[in-house]
């Protein structure tokens, strides 16, 4: 969509629009555009193709290189907590993770239904467990989610599961009580599995704007967030906000959600993602 091959500062400025509309945000965009202008003035960038290449390289660097894998604990079970704000795609992502772990028939997965609050949350996860052929630990309606997590960790350890994936209730990062509840869910597992949780995945909706950075900051305050699942990237939103999150908080994207079925999740590929940002 750039015109011809020629380059000047106006053309560099027009790239600002692509970055802003990808939800990269004002500050990061200004820095990126500033960097491009410096390169142009120094004579290092002579045409549009070079500018685009420079931009892509810069974005990929900010995203942190090699896509990290799902962590595997030194001895089983590996405990994975899935958290995030309301409606971001957590429960569906748990189903997708389960599919990735079990499709080769290799891993024995246990699910914990720790959303004990929302209407039919347990039923939703139980349906996925049934379809994927995995066991699920659930409590009474309104049970303390930490109690369910505690029981699940005990079962995962004693019955030899490779992975325990804990689905949690959606919560706004601004709700102090619910953030404390999340901290407690992580803490109670340590009684049986001292170095748990081994992986904490924050599920972000790709349509989210600048608030995603606040979400990541606040969740990181209460949990050792080790990765992001960027859900709903099959829509038109670009999810550029993950660039800022990686840069400012060091949290890498580990997976992207590309649909509503268990097969619709892929490991994060920075190159593919950056191409998508700028398209």
């Amino acid at each position: 969509r750039l015109l011809g091959g020629g380059l000047d500062e106006d053309i560099i400025d027009s790239l600002e629009e692509i970055l802003l509309r990808a939800d990269i945000g004002v500050t990061a965009t200004q820095r990126l555009i500033g960097g491009l202008k410096e390169g142009y003035r120094a004579g290092n960038l002579k045409d549009q193709a070079q500018v685009l290449e420079f931009l892509k390289t810069g974005l990929k660097e900010k995203l942190g290189g090699e896509a990290p894998k799902l962590r595997e604990a030194p001895k089983p079970p590996t405990v994975v907590i899935v958290a995030g704000v309301n409606g971001s795609g957590k429960t569906t992502s748990v189903a997708k993770l389960t599919h990735l772990l079990t499709r080769g028939g290799e891993k024995k997965v246990l699910l914990a239904a720790c959303d004990t609050f929302r209407a039919a949350a347990v039923e939703q996860l139980a349906t996925w467990a049934g379809r994927l052929g995995v066991d699920i630990v659930r409590g009474q309606t309104g049970a303390d989610p930490a109690a369910v997590a505690h029981d699940a960790c005990e079962k995962a350890l004693k019955q030899g599961y490779d992975y325990l994936v804990i689905d949690t209730a959606g919560r706004l990062h601004t709700d102090k009580n619910l953030m404390r509840e999340l901290e407690k869910i992580a803490r109670v597992g340590k009684k049986h599995i001292p170095d748990s949780p081994h992986e904490v995945l924050l599920v972000l909706d790709a349509t989210t704007g600048q608030n995603a950075v606040r979400q990541a900051k606040e969740f990181l305050e209460v949990l050792p967030v080790s990765g992001i699942i960027l859900a709903k990237l099959d829509g038109t939103a670009k999810g550029g906000i993950v660039v800022v999150i990686r840069e400012e908080l060091g949290i890498p994207v580990k997976f992207v959600g590309l649909g509503e079925q268990p097969t619709d999740m892929q490991p994060f590929d920075a190159g593919v993602f950056v191409d998508g940002l700028l398209s």
Partner: protein, 305 residues
């Protein structure tokens, strides 16, 4: 009454003395930054800044007011005017139940808002609503709406999503949801209920089959009210999805959810600017009493930060 963020930034920039075109431009650069940080869509910001500049330039002759504050006032007034008016009207049906159809992207808060709206209609408008479970694809979506119905003591119409699976091969996909909705309205009429709230499955605005499904429901039921449910933390994409839903369905209003968080909610301005449709209600929590009428002045302060 505006928070210090934008006013502070502008008054630091804009020198004392009267309003000039130069300091208007300076102030508007700050406004642009604030609106971007608030997730207002870029094309909407451009139009908005042009409008504000024209108004501010029109005030160049006014003396005795701090120019920075003048700019902020023009911005705030323009924002309120654009996002308003207050309009919580729900169109009623003359003969037969009033139908409200809830649509939107995945996870926006439609099902929860169906419950909230039903409660609001019962308590504030003395209506007798039926909730219709027309999301036939999400696991336990029907259960979710049934639980809400139980909590409210209201009837929920639903069908087994796998029923008439044999026949589904004969009808093209998309007629099942319309079928359930149609039967839901029949059920409401027979039960003496005056309002039907249709909960539909979340979907992408670029999914042609699923958007057609919504057009089918609209065509067959002719709902008096189609509400687009949008998450307040939506970023730049708000214009794309809202425009598409509105172009295809001509929505009657918007419900903006999750405003109990700290998202600035610029999507509110983007959506109004691009569809012309007003935000009727806002969601301010997960519980069913957390539905409020939309106030453009409160939203303006929040967006400007």
């Amino acid at each position: 009454q505006l928070t210090d963020g934008l006013s502070g930034a502008i008054s630091r920039l804009v020198s004392r003395g009267k309003l000039t075109e130069a300091n208007i431009d300076e102030g508007l650069r700050e406004v642009r930054k604030a609106l971007l940080e608030a997730d207002v869509a870029l094309p909407v910001i451009k139009d908005f800044i042009d409008k504000v500049k024209a108004k501010a330039v029109g005030q160049l002759q006014i003396e005795g007011v701090d120019p920075g504050q003048q700019i902020v006032k023009v911005v705030n007034d323009e924002l309120v005017a654009l996002m308003g008016p207050i309009d919580t009207r729900i169109r009623e049906q003359g003969n037969g139940p009033t139908i409200i159809m809830m649509v939107g992207l995945q996870g926006a808060g439609k099902t929860t808002s169906c419950g909230k709206l039903a409660k609001y209609l019962v308590e504030k408008k003395r209506r007798k609503p039926v909730l219709v479970a027309a999301d036939l694809q999400r696991p336990a979506a029907i259960d979710q709406l049934k639980v809400l119905g139980e909590q409210l003591g209201l009837p929920v119409y639903s069908e087994d999503p796998n029923a008439s699976k044999g026949l589904t091969g004969i009808f093209k996909r998309g007629s099942r949801a319309a079928e359930v909705c149609k039967n839901g309205v029949k059920f409401a009429t027979q039960a003496g209920c005056d309002t039907v709230i249709l909960d539909t499955a979340g979907r992408l605005h670029i999914d042609d089959d699923l958007m057609k499904e919504l057009r089918d429901v609209k065509e067959r039921l002719e709902p008096q009210n189609i509400f687009l449910v949008v998450d307040a933390m939506t970023g730049q994409d708000a214009v794309k999805s809202a425009k598409e839903f509105n172009d295809q369905l001509a929505v009657d209003g918007v419900i903006l959810t999750k405003l109990d968080g700290d998202a600035r909610g610029g999507a509110a301005l983007s959506i109004k600017a691009v569809t012309g449709k007003t935000i009727k209600f806002i969601g301010t929590g997960e519980k069913l009493d957390r539905l409020e009428e939309f106030h453009p002045d409160r939203m303006a302060s929040r967006v400007l930060g």
